[in-house]
Symmetry: C2
Subunit: 133 residues, 2 copies
Amino acid sequence: MAIVRMARRLRQEADTGGEASPTLAAALSTIERHGPLTPSALADCERIQRPTATRVVARLEEQGLVTRTPDPSDGRVSHVAITPAGRTLLARIRSRKNEYLARRLRELEPDELETLARAAAIVERLLGDRPPA
Amino acid sequence: MAIVRMARRLRQEADTGGEASPTLAAALSTIERHGPLTPSALADCERIQRPTATRVVARLEEQGLVTRTPDPSDGRVSHVAITPAGRTLLARIRSRKNEYLARRLRELEPDELETLARAAAIVERLLGDRPPA
DNA sequence: TATTGTTATACTCTATAACTATA
DNA sequence: TATAGTTATAGAGTATAACAATA
């Protein structure tokens, strides 16, 4: 439930802060990390459905954060890549220009930050692995 | 971003599992913990707006998880309390009938569970405190 | 026929603004 | 006039189902 409440809070802050929404930021981060990828690959990485990936990519493209290039050999496929503007935005988010998070995290003890970092890694691992059939 | 992705995953699981959504579960949990409270108080606790609280309470009431009783001395106010059915549902969620979470958590080492528990407490504390002006 | 991507549709969660009833 | 609550409206995020184009 802490996860649910925190996710809600982050969305609210992104709203008022004018930043990209957490959903778009997470997708953009995946596109940066995994290099140019197809909408389907993005869907797999982010654990969203393909139609959702279509919309997310469309939004990112509108804002100039990604570009799409058609695959030369397969007419169905396109490749989505991050733009310099996209990288700049991600860097800004990460370097704590996100005032809300920065303020709150500054209140924590170093060992508490450490705990959060470890927890994030554990959660990412849980999400990354396929659930046992 | 781990928080955003995990929140999404939890919602998807609640969908397919037929459980109450994470939002409703979190609200119900607050109602249980803080005793009967008014919709406004719920809004404050959950950091949602009052109209959102109205809808959440309406949904919970439909499902028989809470009841509302009018305040005897102030005609504007009502008090929302958890029902036995509501308690049962919460207990079921907590006692790991939530198959997805249970399965994934069983894969973790004890010290990893410990880390997650501590992280949850830290996040709740961050959310509970007023942000510094 | 199978796959990639898109469009159509619908539902949840959430917000803001406007309204009602009570104090 | 101020407060508690609701209704109206809107937008983000997400899903499933149906479709198009390509392989």
